[in-house]
Symmetry: C2
Subunit: 277 residues, 2 copies
């Protein structure tokens, strides 16, 4: 790690937190951002090194911390600027689109997808912290042509920023599961708050309401892209969820206590199982 | 308050926490519970006083901390055992059914509904704490024939157990709002976890999944009763929520980024408004 030159593209909440956590572990850490004042500030803070003109060409690892669409655009625009044999990784919440582009372009770098499983309801470098990923999960989606040593480099970066459980899977499996574990909760929180009752309910809420609605303070630009880029899997999960909620509603409407208790008992037992795992 | 004799009926998580928090503020605190070992233990701990045979007849305030159906049964069975002019209050999460029974029976006590807005995913007296309600909201649903002084007694009890925001409303309004702020989140968390994916997703979850599913570790006996007792309002809220989720799904399916962003922006602004209020 100590010999690596890394460039973080996009110095927002996630890119900034990665830079802060990774800085002590690599030789040089450069950043690219459309906002020069962020780069200046990060450099003054010692989070990044002064970047040479050809920072990308000098980098062993380039880490995209952009929104999904901007990630695709960046790769297409800078296709010739990457060092041959370098590793491109990212922190984008949906993995299939960039992997498809990678297979189409067949560039001189290896794209090994990454997804650190943490975030916050705020954005921007000023909210970035060096412990954002402490104890979090990290998902790696390597292509079939990646060398084991290259995958290990991304794993070491994940460990260096504080991630504890690092697992490998395919981009398709990542996107299917993430539709359930991340996008569905955001869609639900949004629908939950999409009512005039929201601003009238003051003092009628307990912990369950606060928890289910927390992520409704949503970044609409980011999540609009994530939802649409992962359309097929997300729709599957919304349909599955809606069918289950409909079963609960029908049992309530029929006053069918036995069925309601059965559903809740099964769910509670599964939830206890994973919480204790 | 210092002259009051209070009996708590049902020494579980909620009744036990109320007893622990209320004990220093009243003259005598008795408890009724079907489990004698819980009463013995609570008495040994100094949380309750040794109850005389006629504890109910001696009580100025009786506080029902039972499940909804058991509350109705208790009132019917003990109709003759309450002191004339005493206050019956409760901590039951749905207020219309007991108020209907009260108006039907026209008993010698005044029923002033109460609902401390706190809870946990565990149950039983051993999990009870004296700060369960610290800073929580408390909703009071007095009948039209309650004297102001009687309502104030319940308000003082709410303040004594630590509740900070105490508001009065009708049982119908309570049940309508609570369907949205408490029962809908529990139905959603249950539906969210009602899939074989739940136990396969390990390490793919971040904070949003943990938050939205926390209350899926549900008490199936309690919530089955709460859902069915509040059937009409809960179904209304599920329908409203489902229509909103369907709109989000359709916008995703159509790739309509503008509509998705509009929904999310509006929701985010409302959520920021209430979080900062």
């Amino acid at each position: 790690m100590k010999h690596l030159t890394v460039t973080v593209v996009g110095l927002g909440l996630i890119g900034g937190s990665i830079a802060r956590a990774l800085r002590p572990h690599v030789q040089s850490l450069y950043a690219v951002d459309r906002d020069q004042s962020v780069l200046d500030f990060a450099q003054k803070q010692g989070v990044i090194d002064p970047a040479p003109e050809d920072a990308l060409q000098r980098s062993d690892v380039v880490m995209l911390c952009l929104y999904p669409e901007a990630s695709l655009e960046f790769v297409e625009r800078h296709l010739k600027d990457f060092k041959s044999g370098c590793i491109l990784t990212d922190a984008v919440g949906v993995k299939t689109p960039l992997m498809k582009l990678y297979h189409k372009l067949k560039p001189g770098f290896t794209y090994i997808g990454g997804h650190p499983m943490a975030g916050r309801e705020v954005s921007g470098f000023l909210n970035a912290t060096d412990n954002m990923f402490a104890g979090a999960g990290f998902i790696i989606t390597p292509p079939e042509d990646a060398a084991e040593e290259q995958i290990r480099v991304v794993e070491r970066i994940a460990a260096a920023i504080g991630c504890r459980t690092i697992i490998r899977t395919t981009p398709e499996n990542h996107d299917k599961i993430i539709a359930y574990t991340s996008q569905l909760p955001h869609a639900i929180a949004t629908a939950m708050c999409d009512t005039p009752l929201l601003v009238k309910h003051k003092n009628f809420t307990g912990g369950s309401f606060e928890d289910v609605t927390r992520v409704a303070k949503i970044n609409e630009d980011l999540w609009t892209e994530l939802f649409i880029e992962n359309k097929a899997y997300l729709i599957e999960e919304i349909d599955r969820f809606s069918a289950s909620l409909e079963r609960i509603k029908n049992a309530v409407a029929a006053g069918d206590a036995e069925q309601l208790r059965d559903i809740m008992r099964r769910v509670r037992q599964d939830k206890e199982l994973i919480d204790n795992a």
